[in-house]
Symmetry: C2
Subunit: 171 residues, 2 copies
Amino acid sequence: MPAMGSHTDLSDTELAVWRAYSSAARLLFARLDRELQRDARLPRSYLDLLGVLADGPARAMRMSDLAEVTMSAPSRLTHAVSQLEAAGWVRRERCNDDRRGCYARITDEGMDVLRTARAAGCAGLRTHFFEHLSPEQLQQLREVSETLLAHLTASAEPACEPAEAGSPQGG
Amino acid sequence: MPAMGSHTDLSDTELAVWRAYSSAARLLFARLDRELQRDARLPRSYLDLLGVLADGPARAMRMSDLAEVTMSAPSRLTHAVSQLEAAGWVRRERCNDDRRGCYARITDEGMDVLRTARAAGCAGLRTHFFEHLSPEQLQQLREVSETLLAHLTASAEPACEPAEAGSPQGG
DNA sequence: CGCAGGTAGTTCAGCGCGCAAGTTTCGCGG
DNA sequence: CCGCGAAACTTGCGCGCTGAACTACCTGCG
């Protein structure tokens, strides 16, 4: 089970670590996504969204704050909130201070859905994640992840580097 | 920064671990994807594909074997190989033994692209992953990931119903 | 031999996602 | 007061991916 184009200037050990890490994360997320979709009819990211809203100051949040907290692009937020609004689980409200802005507020119906979905989500987490790891491993994993996270959020990605090559996506 | 609908029956520590882990993995993959797309005009999964083919017995592989090795759905393989074929980096070849089957063979052009893309991919891995982790952390991460991976590949996901009736054991 | 049942790939419809471009509003200088 | 750049969303579009339905083929049983 490979990951990344494989060896080039990476040691065998490094390669093994990366393969294990990326495969595990990919499969884990895929599994959690599918199970949650089946049990709660909700994508995992939408559950996160509802969760953040529910924990917000007044069950509501500015779109931009929501985007920052969930680390997702503004357009994603728009699409997601639109769908959640169509489902009746979230409502958009105008912002008095800033007419450009917009609040997303979770409805009572949304709170119900959230409760159910959280249960399913946590169950999946137990089954596929926490169940198999010792407290020490969890601590290690946390430190590693927070380290990676810190560097990822700190570095802002080099601008637009031109590249030359044919691309497979054509039609 | 939340992940999953947040607390329900998870401890604060568990929640923190999960948030860190899922956020880091998500951001890391997204970053590597974008950078590789810009530097090599190639999705990361397609690079993996080419890598597997290049390391294969005769630079070729059956579609089903490829699907198993890369842990991707058959339909994904079809689409991916079709695009890679359109780019001239892979060629489909009929299978003599089994007329249903199909070989995917990487072309010389594909090998060139692979070399370039591997360099870019590994550079990204160095920058955003290995650079920040100690050998011990890498070892820890590997063990954790392999543990998760083992359980994920072992359990085959309940069918369409959350049937909890007693099958002696899954497997 | 003929037909069921399984396997290998493909096709189709649809999802979540993010980039780029567009629209409305804010803030600020003149 | 106007105008200009920036900010807060929104829209449009294409990507990678999947599950389900479909086709073509192989296998085994009688």
